[in-house]
Each structure stands twice: as C-alpha cells, then as structure tokens.
C-alpha cells in the first residue's frame, strides 16, 4: 500500500464529515428522520403518501445549494474529476439505485446513520459495499 499524500486532505475531509454528521443529527432532532439519501429519494420516486413528499424535496433543494456555499467560502471551485465515462456511467447510476433500493440504504443511511446507531445490520451493509467497491476499483484500475 502506498499513501497518496498529494491528494490527502485530512482536515477538509474531517470537517466535511463532521458537517455531514451534524446534518444527520439535526434531521433526527427536527423531523425524526434518518438521513439516508437513497431512502429520501425513493420516497420521491414512489411516494407512499402525497404528504410524505414535500419534506424530501425541501431537503434535496438544500443539497443542491450546499456546494455553492462552500465555493463562496473558499473562493475557488470544487474539484471534480470524473472516474468513468461512456456507457459505464449510466450503468453505474442504475446499479447504485438498484442496489440501494434492494439493500435499503447507502453510504449515508447505513454508513453515517446506521453505524452511529450501532446497527449490526448497517455495519454488515457497510462492510459488504466497501468490499465490493474496493474489489470493483481494483478490477477497473489494475486488472482490466
């Protein structure tokens, strides 16, 4: 294992992580909801009840605004370098949606929220998706 010190951003990542954790906490405090994005989006795609949709949309509006607040504060754009292109991009999108619907959660719901609640179910989910993600990147970057 070789550490990538050039791209290593421990402080920004730690502060960003704490902000994500605080957001999860505030959503639980204010609305009693788990901040799981796949679940929040799922309830927009297939609403169980019309009155259950607006809070989800308001949260998504905030998610769209957030990065611009950081751009304003830092005074520079956010670095975005795509990891894939062509047909693999929509395939990845579909598999992410399908998997998080079947597995009832993603990085935020099972990761940030599930682990903080000490849920064994979420810990198993996180271990599983980390394993397949690391394996996938290994295959894409070092085998193919």
């Amino acid at each position: 294992m070789v550490i990538d010190f050039v791209n290593f951003t421990p402080f920004a990542s730690l502060i960003g992580g704490v902000m994500i954790g605080l957001a999860a906490l505030l959503l639980m405090l204010s609305h009693g909801r788990v901040m799981g994005i796949s679940g929040i989006l799922g309830g927009i795609v297939q609403p169980s009840d019309k009155s259950d949709v607006p809070w989800r949309l308001l949260f998504v509006v905030g998610m769209l605004i957030g990065p611009f607040a950081v751009i304003q504060l830092l005074g520079r754009p956010i670095e975005i370098v795509p990891n894939t292109s062509g047909v693999l991009l929509p395939v990845a999108g579909f598999v992410v949606g399908l998997g998080t619907a079947i597995g009832s959660g993603c990085t935020s719901g099972h990761g940030i929220c599930g682990l903080a609640r000490l849920s064994m179910r979420s810990a198993v989910a996180v271990g599983t998706f980390m394993l397949t993600a690391v394996t996938t990147v290994y295959i894409v970057r070092h085998v193919v």
């Binding site: 294992m1 070789v2 730690l14 992580g17 704490v18 994500i20 954790g21 605080l22 957001a23 906490l25 639980m28 405090l29 204010s30 609305h31 009693g32 788990v34 799981g36 994005i37 796949s38 989006l41 949260f59 998504v60 769209l64 605004i65 957030g66 990065p67 950081v70 751009i71 670095e79 795509p82 991009l89 990845a92 999108g93 579909f94 598999v95 992410v96 949606g97 399908l98 998997g99 998080t100 619907a101 009832s104 990085t107 990761g111 940030i112 929220c113 903080a116 849920s119 179910r121 198993v124 996180v126 599983t128 998706f129 980390m130 397949t132 993600a133 690391v134 290994y138 894409v140 070092h142």
Partner: protein, 145 residues
C-alpha cells in the same frame, strides 16, 4: 421554520459533502483503491460523520419526540439477509465504477450537469426498479435507511 430547517439541513449536508471531497468521483475511487496509490481522506469523512452523529444521537433520541413531528421514524428491521447483502453488494459495484453514491450524485447536479444528470436519472430508474422488485407480496416491510 419547520420547512426552512429542512432546506438548511440539506444545505449543511451538501456543503459537508463538497468540503469533504465526496463530490469528486476520482477522489472517491482513490480512497477505494486500497491496492494502488491510496488516498485515505474519505476515512476521515466517515469517521467525523459517524462520531458526530453517534455522540448527538443518544442525546436527541432521549427526547420524547422530534421538534416538528409526533415521533422518531427509526428503522425497525434488524435482519441480516440475502436481500441486504445483495443490495449492498450491488451498490458497492456501482459506487466503485462511478465514484458517486446517492448524496454526492444529487449535490453535484448543478456542478457537473452532464455527467451528474445522466447518473442521477439512471440512479432514480434503478431505485424505482429495486423498489418494485422488492415490494412483491413475499417481500418483508423494510424501512429505508
């Protein structure tokens, strides 16, 4: 305040994602690339997020109810089954290829419109497909985490 708070919390989440590096697919892949030149940054994102939430969660849920709702909606399903493993496994494959998970995909919609719009549209299609697939009569009720 009930509605504004949702936008503000969403903004805090989106800002956290942007600051942490989670919106950068190649950085995410750099974290997942354990056997290459490894960028450990995202371990700090998960660590910071989980610890902050872990400390506060205990205090928050000790209250009888949240501020704006009658009760807390916490997941009740504790089962570890094939469905959980299949779903999480598939998600990891897509995350490894695209370098985007659902939150960052949404938050980067206005920053990299081309890629993110295509990714989010197919992700929503996948979400719908997965929910239809798992909502048959044999499916157990599973709260979305």
């Amino acid at each position: 305040m009930r509605h504004i708070s949702l936008v503000l919390i969403g903004t805090l989440f989106g800002a956290g994602l942007a600051l942490s590096g989670m919106l950068n697919p190649s950085k995410v892949a750099g974290f997942l690339d354990l056997f290459g030149v490894w960028d450990p940054s995202l371990a700090f994102v998960m660590g910071g997020g989980v610890v902050a939430n872990f400390i506060g969660h205990r205090i928050v849920t000790r209250r009888g109810a949240p501020l704006y709702e009658a009760g807390f909606s916490l997941p009740t399903n504790q089962g570890i089954d094939a469905r959980l493993l299949t779903g999480a496994g598939l998600f990891g494959i897509g995350w490894g290829i695209g370098g985007l998970c659902p939150g960052p995909a949404i938050s980067s919609l206005l920053l990299m419109p081309g890629d993110a719009v295509l990714f989010v549209m197919t992700m929503l299609a996948g979400l719908a497909a997965g929910r239809i697939l798992t909502s048959g009569p044999s499916a157990r009720p599973a709260p979305q985490a």
